[in-house]
Amino acid sequence: MRKAFGIFVTGLLMLAIGACESIDCTLNNVVMLNVGFYDSQTGNSYAFTDTLTVTAQGTDSVLYNRGIRQTAITLPMSYWQEADTLTFSFYKWEYDLSYDVVLRVQKTNFQHFESPDCPTTMFHTLTAIDYDDADSYVDSIVIANTAVNYASLENIKIYLHTDD
């Protein structure tokens, strides 16, 4: 009987040790739209030289505030809207001129979870984009990767005219 009791207690102890648990949420748990900037002539990555601010319809928040010399930026996307309208404002300090490029990103949204301990989030799939560029500041804009999720791949490529 003593042997059986020993076996039972040993089993319980081993199971208790095995029951120890740690929270293992994904470290990169931010879902953002990744936008890259490129030279329209060479196709190479390009650090824009004018100050960029990005705002969006439907929110007072500034999504990206006065950045300069960046080759890529990340922007939050709305959870529930079927399309986000983003305004990219490029400001030339030397001429005190501002150029606005309005980008409409159509998408589908789907909720995503990892574990009860981890934050839930919204993934997106880009379906189409179009843009207004009255000043011809931009050469073209294309979708590079439709999936907006934890993978953080580049989603949109903006080709800028760089000769002026």
């Binding site: 059986a4 319980l12 789907f110 979870f113 009860p116 301990d117 839930t120």
Partner: protein
């Protein structure tokens, strides 16, 4: 990493299965040969109810049955109901599932003596098809605003896995035995909702490519052949 761990586990099991009987060859003691069919046993897991009683994040109720050939080979099947009701530690997320699971496999008794004690090594194939719920009542868009909550019901999941186990058991009284085993579980295939994978899979445990688990079994030997084996162990029958 997973392949390395599985390979190491298989190597240890293989070496144990091959080397231990060879080492035992030096023992000059003549061990009575057990009958081909030594009976049937049914078993119940005691760890599951204990886990439920102490409020574990998941638990199971499990029973099983096995055959006994030569007191060494134990083909078996196990079935149970796994359950998990889980709340996030630092949020109000909830996860729920409750579903049956099945396992088939075989244990091998490494102890050559028929003295009632068994050192077991085994392998099992497990399967579960289940539904799970996930909810986040505080799900909001921090930038654009708005909230519709997050309440997913009856998401479908399915998993197949392999288990490699080691354990031991001893006779408590007459036909009643007690034993435990530890199991390394490796996922073979998983099919889950695109919204997210389950936190817990019934029979497997916390979801992942591999995990550890175990059971504490109360075992009942049934059938006449097991009585014959007991008699033979005590030299009451001819060899």
């Amino acid at each position: 990493m997973l392949h390395w761990r599985i390979s190491r586990y298989i190597c240890i099991l293989t070496i144990s299965l091959v080397a231990l009987p060879l080492l035992a060859k030096d023992n000059k003691e003549v061990i009575p040969k057990a009958p081909l069919f030594c009976g049937v046993a049914v078993q119940a897991d005691l760890a599951g109810p204990v886990m439920k009683a102490v409020g574990s994040k998941f638990d199971q109720i499990e029973v099983g049955a096995r055959l006994n050939f030569r007191d060494h080979f134990f083909p078996l099947c196990e079935l149970g109901i796994g359950e998990s009701d889980r709340e996030g530690r630092e949020n109000n997320n909830t996860f729920h599932t409750r579903a049956p699971y099945f396992r088939i496999g075989m244990d091998y008794n490494l102890n050559k003596k028929h003295n009632g004690n068994r050192l077991m090594a085994g392998v099992r194939y497990g399967f579960s098809s289940f539904k799970y719920d996930f909810a986040d009542p505080d799900f909001t868009d921090a930038v654009w605003g708005g909230s519709s909550g997050f309440d997913m019901q009856d998401l479908k999941g399915r998993m197949q896995w392999l288990e490699f186990s080691v354990g031991c058991e001893t006779k408590l009284w007459s036909f009643i035995r007690l034993g435990w085993n530890l199991r390394f579980k490796a996922r073979l295939h998983q099919s889950v909702s695109s919204y997210g994978a389950p936190y817990y899979t019934p029979g497997f445990g916390k979801n992942g490519s591999s995990t550890f688990g175990g059971t504490i079994n109360l075992i009942f030997d049934v059938g006449r052949t097991s009585k014959k084996l007991n008699a033979k162990q005590h030299g009451l029958l001819e060899r």
